[in-house]
């Protein structure tokens, strides 16, 4: 299922469509967002380097981890780094995001060791200027794939870091410009959703065609309790978690998928999850016509309601059966008889007033004769 997401990113966007975009949400309860991000990044990189994807290159905007980390990561996953200069560019927003080191260097205050000039790493010194950042990304991408119809992908390591420096609407406009750019085939980013308010999280969900949530396996409600069960649950949360994804399909429907994952040796393994009851159906649809289902409470209430009945064609008087045996009431008393109330439940009452007490029920006339079927 995480592989399904990677495949969607690999396939990219059709002509005239916005680029597919993925938000990876994590929180402090299950902080494995970066690991999932790395997984998806390496999957997509292997697709790109072997030429199986729509995009022919990928630009990584690295805010939270240094570029050398990424290179090591690719090496450890078995991707040939000798050829990375053909399909990978890293925009380094980690080393000197606000340009302070540059300014100190100019004044001679610090002497930095000579940074290795790498083919694939470009330094960005002002992350607050998002227009400049965007044009840098486009320039790097075009450098990779050239002009024309070829496309590239963009990965942003931690949009939460971007939001530290700039406002939401400028980040949102950068992402929407990326999505509508003709040469970008897919965009994905990491987002720590518990660091931001609801509006921000809703805005990122709005702009993504896929949302992946990394959640703990079971939420431990009371952490401080010295319960061995809870502790083992917490321990489990350090190694495992749930992976929820919702994909927006082209026909307008949303596909929801669920998986478990476990972390071992900084590698993540996805396994299918035990089936859970999906309770969205009833909540989504309002009271539908002809809903003849009775809830349990309704059923029990219905069973408790006692209906009055009259005997016809017999000499018996009108009775209201109220659960008590051998009860014979007079005609007039029965009309105002109240049902016996129980202390613990509210029962429905039927108070039956006859139209006319003089009229005897016509025993030889069938009232159904009036119906014309």
């Amino acid at each position: 299922m995480a592989d399904a997401i990677c495949r969607v990113l690999r396939d990219g966007a059709l002509e005239g469509e916005h680029a597919t975009s993925l938000t990876i949400n994590d929180s402090v309860d299950s902080p494995f967002g970066p690991i999932v991000f790395d997984y998806i990044f390496t999957q997509l990189s292997s697709f790109i380097s072997s030429g199986k994807s729509q995009s022919r290159g990928i630009v990584l905007v690295a805010f939270s981890r240094s570029p050398s980390f990424t290179v090591e990561l690719l090496k450890s996953r078995g991707i040939d780094i000798a050829t990375t200069h053909e399909w990978l560019r890293i925009l380094d927003c980690y080393t000197d995001p606000l340009g302070w080191k540059e300014r100190l260097k100019e004044r001679g205050a610090i002497k930095t060791p000579s940074t290795e000039a790498s083919l694939i790493v470009n330094l960005c010194k002002d992350v607050r200027n998002l227009d400049g950042l965007f044009s840098l990304i486009i320039a790097l991408g075009k450098g990779l794939v050239g002009e024309g119809k070829s496309r590239f992908s963009v990965a942003i390591d931690s949009v939460s870091e971007m939001l530290r420096h700039t406002s939401l609407s400028s980040v949102a406009s950068l992402l929407s410009n990326a999505r509508s750019h003709a040469q970008i085939s897919s965009v994905f980013w990491l987002h720590h959703f518990d660091l931001h308010d609801m509006k921000t999280n809703a805005a990122f969900e709005y702009m993504s065609s896929m949302v992946a949530n990394v959640k703990p396996l079971a939420t431990a409600t009371n952490v401080l309790r010295e319960n061995s069960e809870n502790l083992s649950l917490l321990e489990q949360n350090y190694k495992r978690g749930q992976f929820h994804a919702s994909l927006k399909r082209r026909n307008g429907r949303v596909r929801i998928m669920c998986e478990e994952f476990s972390i071992g040796q900084s590698l993540v393994k996805f396994t299918s999850m035990s089936a859970r009851k999906n309770e969205t159906a009833q909540s989504l649809v309002p009271k539908v016509q002809f809903n003849l289902q009775l809830s349990d409470k309704e059923r029990s209430d219905r069973a408790k309601v006692v209906l009055p009945f009259e005997h016809q064609e017999t000499e018996k008087s009108v009775q209201i059966y109220d659960g008590r045996k051998s009860e014979t009431e007079g005609k007039y008393d029965s009309s105002t008889e109240k049902l016996q109330k129980q202390e613990d439940s509210r029962r429905g009452e039927i108070i039956y007033f006859r139209d006319s007490d003089d009229e005897m029920p016509d025993s030889d006339e069938d009232p159904d004769d009036d119906l014309d079927i």
Partner: protein, 361 residues
């Protein structure tokens, strides 16, 4: 002209100049109101005739599905077919490109085929009787060369080029407006050419605004600016011969602000996405396989009257009939097979990816 059948009030209006209104694509309604078609025949029927002229229509978007775009496209295409001036605003850099995705009118040889099918069924299924009774009266009023009030649109084919050329549609990008003041001035200029008098109507116009509070707009966090813009738009539209159609993703603004937006609307609809391959929903509803989403009607505009509209149902399913035209259907619960406890819903293939033109996600 006084009618003897079904008088809804003691007063009867002396209708005059009915032909001109059909040229403009307008229809007279009760209580001295005039209707403009929404472009979706089922929606016009649900709302009692269409959108009131002078009203503000709001659609609450669902962030997970682009169904509001279907309604928007039909609304704009209907305006183009009726030669009504249109102002279109969206938060994209090139809004004019959207015009190429508008649908064209459906040239139907087999007109109203689903009605014909209904007549031929000799076994009527009683629990769905509403489908077969009453609604067989064709919505199309005149057919020989005169303008229809509400067209059906074929979402698979783009609109004819000559309709979108020229200056018929004014396009504005919401990204250019750092505050909404400039946009408000453009709207007021557009509406000044459509003033409302007591005399005959010369023209009617449409304003279509897509995703007013999209996060990439600079004014996104200025809640009160957006609210005051909507209020002034509503008052401008009320005194002119136009309908303003606005979509907004309600979950992107805070709940209290969203409530204020909703209260400002004259007619309020919302669209909702449905999960894919959901077995529970498939058992609960008939026709789940063809459904794209759900449309809910929250508020219907009532002008010049105190009587509210009470609808039979407020939620409808959005479907594409023959994959090309938009229909809204009542939700019907699937019959439950008593023996096995599960419904015998249709076992068809999934609707797959029905191409409805380019969709933007």
């Amino acid at each position: 002209m006084a009618t003897n059948k079904g008088r809804t009030s003691s007063f009867s209006r002396n209708f005059s100049a009915a032909p001109t209104s059909s040229i403009l694509g307008l229809k007279y309604g009760p209580n001295g109101t005039i209707f403009l078609s929404s472009g979706v025949p089922d929606l016009d029927k649900i709302l009692g005739g269409g959108f009131h002229l002078g009203s503000l229509v709001m659609i609450m978007e669902d962030t997970e599905a682009p169904h509001h775009m279907l309604l928007l496209r039909n609304f704009m295409s209907q305006g183009l077919v009726h030669n009504q001036p249109i102002l279109y605003a969206s938060p994209s850099t090139n809004p004019r490109a959207f015009l190429g995705t508008l649908p064209t009118t459906l040239v139907s040889k087999d007109d109203r085929s689903h009605n014909a099918d209904a007549e031929q069924k000799d076994l009527r299924i009683a629990w769905q009787y509403k489908k077969y009774l009453g609604e067989n009266k064709p919505h199309i009023e005149e057919r020989d060369g005169k303008v229809e009030y509400c067209n059906e649109f074929d979402l698979r084919k783009p609109i004819e080029k000559h309709l979108i050329m020229g200056n018929r549609v004014e396009c504005i990008s919401l990204l250019d407006c750092s505050s909404l003041a400039g946009f408000r001035d453009s709207c007021s200029k557009f509406l000044s050419q459509l003033p409302r008098y007591d005399g005959n109507i010369t023209s009617a116009g449409r304003i279509a605004i897509q995703s007013l509070c999209a996060p990439q707009c600079e004014y996104f966090d200025k809640d009160w600016d957006m609210l005051s813009f909507i209020r002034s738009l509503k008052s401008m539209v009320r005194s002119s011969n136009a309908v303003a159609f606005l979509t907004f993703p309600a979950s992107l603004v805070s709940p209290s602000v969203s409530k204020r937006w909703q209260h400002l609307a004259d007619t309020l609809l919302s669209v909702k996405a449905i999960p894919d391959e959901d077995k529970e929903l498939a058992n609960l509803l008939t026709g789940y396989q063809d459904m794209l989403g759900l449309l809910s009607v929250h508020k219907v505009a009532r002008f010049n009257t105190q009587v509210p509209v009470i609808l039979d149902a407020t939620t409808y399913s959005i479907k594409l009939q023959k994959r090309r035209s938009l229909v809204l259907e009542c939700l019907n619960q699937a019959p439950v097979d008593g023996s096995s406890g599960s419904s015998y819903g249709t076992s068809g293939s999934c609707s797959g990816s029905s191409k409805t033109g380019t969709l933007d996600f």
